[in-house]
């Protein structure tokens, strides 16, 4: 507390302060005429939590509630109309679109995913991994950290003879979608046996752990030596703080790359021109010498037809702000969660989709 406010507090009788606070609360409650609700992806949740206070400060007539529940809940509740924004790391499947043709898949940013591990003594070494080896770890064909396949990718690294503990998400998750898609695109056996989705049929590997949400993944890897996991980039600050290892991944061109300011935009640049009008596209395993292999659009699911014109116009206003470079897509927000802004051509498609809300 500052010197001045302390003085003020001493001088002003408590009752008056209380009354003033009460009036303020009433004032702000009556100012918000419309309430919008967001729920879904735990990866997108930190960004929404940065956006909402900034936006509602400038637009006191709107109140936006956010919740981190998981992409599946985001999708289901936006389809049912319980929430206006359903956050999801994965786009809707063809079957879901056929069932719910009024749903829009609106990208608001570009995200990426790390593969992290906890190898005592080796966490400062960026191990080289490719999709086949990671698929092997998760399907049980690569059991020990000193497996021949791992040694071949990492000559000179003293890999220990310890059992690999794989960690995967138990909840339905866009991160699982991205990860299993990376494995499907790089490993034929994985594609045939497991495939991809927000929740997949994890091969039965003894000792494999299921964790809940990105925070659960981070703490499971941190507390379990010799474990490996896939974690959304908005949790990079946490994984760095906990001293977890981060892998270099082999991209389509055969190079080993990590998430940085070159590799993620390179992958986005390769995939954005291929984005269709409804923007449902996988950006996993993009071509290009520098492309990082696991990136995706972060989606907000919105019903094109809203119950009334006022709600529709407030939703449009918020989304236009969210994707504008002066608003939600500015680096002051995105940098904090390590997301990338939408490239110009993707933004144009997104604005076209936003215009369909009525």
């Amino acid at each position: 507390m500052t010197q001045r406010s302390q003085h003020a507090r001493r001088r002003a009788p408590r009752l008056v302060l209380l009354a003033a606070a009460g009036l303020l609360a009433v004032g702000s409650a009556t100012a918000a005429t419309i309430t919008l609700n967001e729920t879904g992806s735990s990866l997108l949740y930190p960004l929404f939590n940065l956006w909402v206070p900034a936006y509602t400060r400038a637009h006191p007539e709107v109140q936006i509630n956010t919740a981190s529940t998981g992409s599946g809940t985001g999708i289901a509740q936006s389809i049912e109309g319980l929430v206006q924004f359903g956050a999801s790391d994965a786009y809707l499947s063809d079957a879901q679109m056929k069932k719910n043709p009024e749903m829009l898949n609106i990208p608001v940013a570009i995200s990426s995913q790390m593969i992290n591990y906890n190898l005592p003594g080796l966490n400062n070494v960026h191990l080289k991994l490719n999709g086949t080896v990671v698929a092997g770890m998760y399907d049980g064909s690569v059991r020990y950290w000193d497996d021949a396949a791992l040694k071949k990718l990492n000559p000179g690294v003293a890999l220990p003879h310890d059992l690999i503990v794989t960690v995967h998400r138990t909840d339905g998750s866009g991160d699982t979608f991205m990860f299993s898609q990376f494995l499907s695109f790089t490993d034929k056996t994985w594609e045939q046996k497991v495939g991809y989705g927000t929740s997949v049929n994890w091969p039965a590997v003894p000792g494999a752990i299921g964790a809940n949400g990105n925070p659960g993944m981070v703490s499971a890897v941190k507390s379990t030596p010799y474990s490996v996991a896939y974690i959304g980039v908005s949790f990079q600050g946490q994984t760095d703080k906990d001293g977890l290892g981060e892998a270099m991944l082999q991209n389509r061109a055969g190079n080993f790359v990590m998430i940085n300011e070159t590799t993620v935009p390179a992958a986005a640049a390769a995939m954005v021109p291929k984005t269709p009008r409804d923007e449902r596209i996988s950006m996993i395993y993009a071509p290009g010498a520098e492309s990082y292999p696991i990136i995706n659009y972060e989606y907000v699911m919105v019903k094109s037809r809203q119950p009334n014109a006022e709600t529709a116009s407030e939703i449009k206003k918020f989304l236009r702000w969210a994707v504008s470079t002066e608003g939600g897509n500015s680096l002051q927000f995105l940098k904090q969660v390590n997301f990338l802004p939408l490239p110009a051509s993707a933004r144009a498609l997104t604005l076209q989709q936003i215009n369909q809300i009525h």
Binding site: T69, G72, G197, N201, P206, A208
Partner: protein, 320 residues
């Protein structure tokens, strides 16, 4: 009968009928909601390890007359094993501890402190399960996986299911221990009352024929506890079977795999329903949701079965 009495009778009967009606309504609702899954899965639901939502990005196909995603199958043997095994371990640990605590509280603690000590035990019984789960997650798992399980695997490896690998700490035994800690206060609090209800004459008679205090406890008090013990163990088992949050946090959430030893990750029916609900909501054919309703139905029937078995045990122990 006066009209007031008649009215009272009707009201009381209605309230009494409400409880079995709720149970019936629950059953009816679960059967209704899981009906497509019951037809699609058949008996294999209980005999195989195959919970698979299928290819969610494919197009729905018709199998056995039901719309499902390609490759979908729903079978939960591993959940039934995980649920029963963790609850059984919990009970094996909790019953001796609970009985010991109850005897200690009722017989060994000075009367002045007894009230407070008992109050503490009863307070423990009302701690929300998620707090136990959090404690297990933050404190117990790192401790057990580093300092206890590796030694157990090394020295007790000759016992089946106790050998290495000692795992990550998330798993069957950890779940059993935390569940046991949740059950101990329940057992102790109930048994303490039962012990205190032992007629004073019986104790005095025992002492009069020259029994020591320990012999009185062993030969007079404990045998009388058999009936309340069965009752309270059933309650505790019910709590363990249905426990959701704590198990979700510490079990390791294994999928489609049976535990290879007592350190292995498992999953239970209740916690699996919570963890899979989100993915199930994305199934455009809704079969995954029906499947989860079927797990709910199976869990309800399992609990009823366990309760019924406990009831069957009671008359036999009375005659013994």
């Amino acid at each position: 009968m006066r009209p007031g009495d008649a009215l009272f009778r009707v009201i009381v009967t209605a309230f009494a009928a409400l409880i079995p009606l709720i149970l019936l309504a629950l059953l009816a609702f679960l059967v209704h909601d899981s009906w497509p899954a019951l037809r699609f899965n058949g008996i294999e639901f209980f005999t195989r390890n195959a919970w698979n939502l299928g290819n969610q990005y494919g197009n729905p196909v018709t199998v056995r007359g039901e719309q499902v995603m390609p490759g979908a199958s729903f079978a939960i043997l591993f959940l039934i094993v995980g649920t029963l095994a963790s609850s059984l371990i919990a009970l094996l640990l909790a019953v001796p501890l609970g009985v010991g605590a109850a005897v200690f509280l009722a017989e060994a603690v000075p009367p002045r402190i007894r009230t407070y000590a008992s109050l503490l035990v009863e307070l423990l019984a009302s701690v929300p399960s998620v707090v136990f789960g959090l404690w297990g997650y933050v404190v117990l798992i790192p401790f057990l996986s580093r300092h206890v399980y590796p030694h157990m695997a090394r020295w007790l490896g000759f016992i089946p299911f106790f050998g290495p690998p000692s795992g990550s700490g998330y798993g069957l035994l950890t779940a059993g221990i935390v569940l046991a800690l949740m059950c101990v206060p329940l057992i102790a609090a109930n048994l303490r009352e039962a012990i205190e209800n032992t007629p004073q004459e019986l104790r005095e008679a025992g002492l009069a024929v020259g029994a020591t205090r320990f012999e009185v406890v062993r030969k007079i008090v404990l045998p009388r506890l058999r009936l309340p013990l069965i009752g309270v163990s059933t309650l505790a088992l019910g709590r363990a079977l249905g426990e959701t949050m704590a198990v979700l946090m510490i079990s390791g959430n294994a999928l489609n795999i049976l535990p290879q030893n007592i350190y292995s990750p498992i999953s239970t029916m209740a916690s699996f329903m919570v963890s899979q609900l989100d993915s199930a909501l994305q199934d455009p054919t809704n079969m995954a949701i029906y499947g989860i309703a079927e797990i709910g139905l199976a869990l309800l029937l399992l609990s009823l079965l366990v309760n019924a078995l406990a009831r069957l045990l009671v008359p036999r122990s009375l005659s013994a």
